[in-house]
C-alpha cells in the first residue's frame, strides 16, 4: 500500500497518448540538458577555477575555498531560476554539479591519466554535491530568491571545505623532502613533472589573512559565503534572462 502511494506521484494532468508524449519530451530535454551542462558547466569551471580543481598542490586554505564555490554557484543559480520558476523542480544545483562531476571525471581519467600519465590521485576533483543538495532544498523549502541567496549561498560556500577535507586532508601530511618540510601534495607537484606548471605559478597561500594567525580557512570560507550571496542572485537573473521564448515566437 505504501509502495503504491509512493509511486502515485503528482502531477498527473494527462493520461494516455498525451501522457506518453509529454514523458518522451521530458526524456528528450533531460538528455539534451545532460550533455549541455556536462560541456558548458565543465568548461566554465575549467576556465574559472582551473588549476585549483585540477591539482592536489593547488588546493590551499585561502584561494581554493574562496574561488571554487564562488565560480561553481553560477550555473546552479541560473538553472535553478529556470527549473524552479517554471516547473517547481528543485534540482537545478544537483543537476549541474552532477553533470560537472561526470565531465570532470571523464577528463581526469582519460585526459590527465591515460593521455598525460598523471596518477589519478594527483588530479582528484573536489565535490560540491553536499553544497548543491542543500542549495536545492533551501530553495524548495523557502520558495524565495532572497532567502536562498542569503542562506543557500552561504551554505554553498561554507560546506565546501569541510565536504572536501575528508578527500584531501590526508595529502597534507608533512614530509621531509629536499631538506624542507612539504606536504604530500607538494611532493606530488615536485615529482610528477608538469612542464607548463612551474611551482611559482601556484596561486596559493597568498594574501593578507596573516593577521588571523593560522586560521585562514574559515575566513576564506566566510568571504566566499558573502560573495556567493551576491553571485547567486546575479546568475539567477542571468538564467531568467536567457530562458526566454522571445525568439521562438517570431519563428
Amino acid at each position: 500500500m505504501a509502495t503504491t502511494k509512493l509511486l502515485d506521484i503528482p502531477p498527473q494532468p494527462y493520461t494516455g497518448e498525451k501522457a506518453r508524449l509529454t514523458r518522451a519530451y521530458d526524456y528528450l530535454i533531460l538528455v539534451l540538458a545532460l550533455f549541455l551542462f556536462i560541456g558548458a558547466f565543465h568548461l566554465h569551471v575549467a576556465l574559472t577555477v582551473g588549476d585549483w580543481d585540477f591539482w592536489l598542490d593547488w588546493k590551499d586554505r585561502q584561494w581554493w575555498p574562496l574561488v571554487t564555490p564562488l565560480m561553481m554557484i553560477t550555473f546552479p543559480a541560473a538553472v535553478q531560476a529556470v527549473l524552479w520558476t517554471n516547473f517547481r523542480l528543485p534540482l537545478g544545483a544537483t543537476l549541474c554539479v552532477s553533470c560537472l562531476l561526470i565531465g570532470t571525471w571523464i577528463t581526469r581519467i582519460f585526459a590527465y591519466h591515460y593521455w598525460n600519465y598523471f596518477p589519478i590521485n594527483m588530479v582528484l576533483p573536489a565535490t560540491m554535491m553536499p553544497s548543491a543538495l542543500v542549495l536545492d532544498v533551501i530553495l524548495m523549502l523557502s520558495n524565495s530568491l532572497t532567502v536562498t541567496s542569503i542562506f543557500g549561498g552561504m551554505s554553498f560556500a561554507l560546506l565546501f571545505y569541510p565536504s572536501n577535507w575528508p578527500i584531501f586532508g590526508l595529502f597534507h601530511m608533512p614530509v621531509e623532502y629536499g631538506n624542507a618540510q612539504l606536504t604530500l601534495a607538494d611532493v606530488f607537484g615536485f615529482q610528477y613533472i608538469r612542464a607548463g606548471m612551474p611551482e611559482y605559478l601556484r596561486i596559493i597561500e597568498r594574501g593578507t589573512l596573516r593577521t588571523y594567525g593560522q586560521y585562514a580557512t574559515p575566513l576564506s570560507a566566510f568571504c566566499s559565503a558573502l560573495l556567493c550571496t551576491l553571485m547567486y542572485p546575479l546568475w539567477w537573473y542571468l538564467g531568467t534572462w536567457f530562458a526566454t521564448i522571445r525568439y521562438v515566437k517570431t519563428i
Binding site: I9, V137, M140, P174, F190
Partner: protein, 411 residues
C-alpha cells in the same frame, strides 16, 4: 561536393589513426619558439650532460650542467625573481626525485642573480617505457621557458613495475601512485549516489509540460508533496551534520596536517666562473650576414691571466661553434647543435698574459637559421649574447659572457 566531404572525413580519420598509433615520441618542446634575444641573453647553458641514454623503468638518469645568468638581461623580460628549473618531457614519464642548485637541495622556486654562475643536478626516475627527448629548461616568471640542450633517452621495461614510495615525517610509507585514491573515489561515489537519488526522486515523475501547465493553472501546491518537504528537511539537517562530522573525524585522524608550502628557496650563486676576471672581452662590432648565415664579431680581448690563451668556442642559445684548429673537450661532432668547424678566427694566435688583442671571429653555420636565431634582427631587442670559451695550453678553460648589438647585412 559529396566526394570532397568524403575525402575530408577520410583525411581526418586517417590523421586520428596516425596520431593514435604514432610512436610515443616528442620531437620538439618549443625550444625554438621563444624570441632569439631571450634565448641568447637570459640563461646561458653549458656542460649539460646525461648519465645514460638507455635505462629501465625504476632506473635513474641524472642530468647535470651549468648555466650563467646573463648580465645583459633584456629590458623587456622581467628580472629572474621567481624561476623554476624544469624538465621538458611529455608528461610525467619520469618523476623528478631530486634536484640541486649549487649543491643545495631545491624543491620550490628560486630567484637568480644577474651575472651569477650556477650548477645543477636533476635526478629522474623512469616511470613509463618509451623514447623521450629530455631538456632541462628554466621557467622564468612572466617570460617563458628557456630551453637547455636536449637528449634522447630510451626507457624499457614494464610500467606496472614502477614504484614510488615516500615516507611522511611520522614514519608512514606512502605509495604515491595510489595513495588516497580509494578514499577519494569512495567519498565521490557516496555523494554522487546521494545526488543521483535526489535527481531520480524528481525525474521519476512527469516533468516539464505537466508541471508547467499545473503551475500556470494555479495548482502549484500539488507539485511539491508533504513527503518531498519532509525529505528536503531531512537533507537540510543531515547533510551539514554529516559533512561537519566527517570533517571533524578527518581532522582528528590527521592532527599533524600542514598547509601547502609556498616558500621561495634562497640559493646564492657560485664563486664566479664566467667573467671571473682572468679574461675580459669587449665587443666592438657584430654583423650578421644573412646570405651566408654567419655572425661576424670583432672583440677586444684582454688576457689578465698568467697563461697565454686561445679562443676555443662560442656558445649561444645551446648552439656551439667550435674552433677546429684548437684541440679542446666537448667537440662532440654528433651533437646536432654543434658546428664542429663553425668558428673561424682571423688571427688565431695565442693571446699572451697581459696582452690586449682585437680579434675578428666568424661563427658561421646553417644552425643560425635552422634554430630560428637569424630572426634576431626582427626582434624588439636586436642584441645578441653568448659565452666565449678560451683555453690556455694546459687545457684550462676561461669563460667570458659577451653581449653586443647585431647589425644585419643582406649582401
Amino acid at each position: 561536393m559529396f566526394i570532397h566531404i568524403k575525402n575530408y572525413v577520410a583525411s581526418i580519420f586517417l590523421a586520428l589513426i596516425f596520431l593514435s598509433v604514432a610512436p610515443n615520441n616528442a620531437y620538439a618542446h618549443g625550444e625554438k619558439a621563444l624570441e632569439p634575444f631571450i634565448r641568447m641573453r637570459t640563461i646561458q647553458w653549458y656542460d649539460v650532460q646525461w648519465t645514460q641514454a638507455s635505462l629501465k623503468v625504476n632506473d635513474e638518469v641524472v642530468v647535470t650542467g651549468k648555466f650563467h645568468v646573463a648580465e645583459d638581461w633584456p629590458r623587456s623580460v622581467p628580472k629572474p625573481d621567481a624561476t623554476y628549473l624544469n624538465v621538458a618531457i611529455p608528461g610525467p614519464v619520469f618523476i623528478r626525485t631530486e634536484r640541486y642548485l649549487n649543491g643545495q637541495p631545491w624543491v620550490s622556486s628560486a630567484a637568480l642573480k644577474l651575472g651569477g654562475d650556477y650548477d645543477f643536478k636533476i635526478v629522474l626516475k623512469a616511470r613509463l617505457p618509451g623514447r623521450y627527448h629530455i631538456h632541462p629548461f628554466f621557467n622564468l616568471q612572466d617570460a617563458g621557458a628557456v630551453m637547455g640542450p636536449g637528449h634522447w633517452v630510451e626507457v624499457t621495461g614494464d610500467a606496472a613495475t614502477f614504484t614510488n614510495s615516500v615516507k611522511t615525517i611520522s614514519g608512514e610509507s606512502v605509495d604515491m601512485e595510489t595513495y588516497g585514491l580509494v578514499n577519494g573515489i569512495s567519498w565521490h561515489v557516496l555523494w554522487i549516489v546521494l545526488g543521483t537519488a535526489w535527481l531520480l526522486w524528481w525525474v521519476r515523475r512527469p516533468l516539464f509540460i505537466p508541471r508547467f501547465k499545473m503551475l500556470k493553472s494555479g495548482n502549484e501546491d500539488a507539485l511539491i508533496t508533504p513527503l518531498d518537504k519532509t525529505i528536503a528537511k531531512g537533507i537540510l539537517v543531515v547533510v551539514p551534520l554529516f559533512v561537519f562530522g566527517a570533517y571533524a573525524m578527518t581532522d582528528s585522524q590527521y592532527p599533524n596536517a600542514i598547509p601547502l608550502q609556498a616558500a621561495l628557496d634562497q640559493i646564492e650563486p657560485l664563486p664566479p666562473t664566467v667573467n671571473n676576471g682572468a679574461v675580459n672581452v669587449k665587443m666592438i662590432r657584430t654583423e650578421y650576414r644573412v646570405p651566408v648565415r654567419a655572425m661576424n664579431m670583432v672583440a677586444q680581448i684582454h688576457n689578465y691571466s698568467d697563461q697565454p690563451i686561445r679562443i676555443g668556442a662560442f656558445a649561444s642559445a645551446n648552439l656551439r661553434f667550435i674552433n677546429p684548429s684548437l684541440d679542446q673537450p666537448g667537440k662532440n661532432e654528433e651533437d646536432t647543435l654543434v658546428a664542429a668547424k663553425g668558428l673561424v678566427i682571423d688571427d688565431d694566435k695565442l693571446i699572451q698574459p697581459g696582452e690586449t688583442k682585437t680579434v675578428s671571429m666568424a661563427a658561421a653555420d646553417a644552425l643560425w637559421e635552422t634554430e630560428k636565431l637569424d630572426g634576431l634582427f626582427r626582434d624588439a631587442d636586436s642584441r645578441m649574447g653568448g659565452l666565449l670559451f678560451l683555453y690556455d695550453p694546459s687545457g684550462k678553460r676561461y669563460i667570458a659572457s659577451i653581449s653586443t648589438s647585431v647589425i644585419p647585412k643582406f649582401d
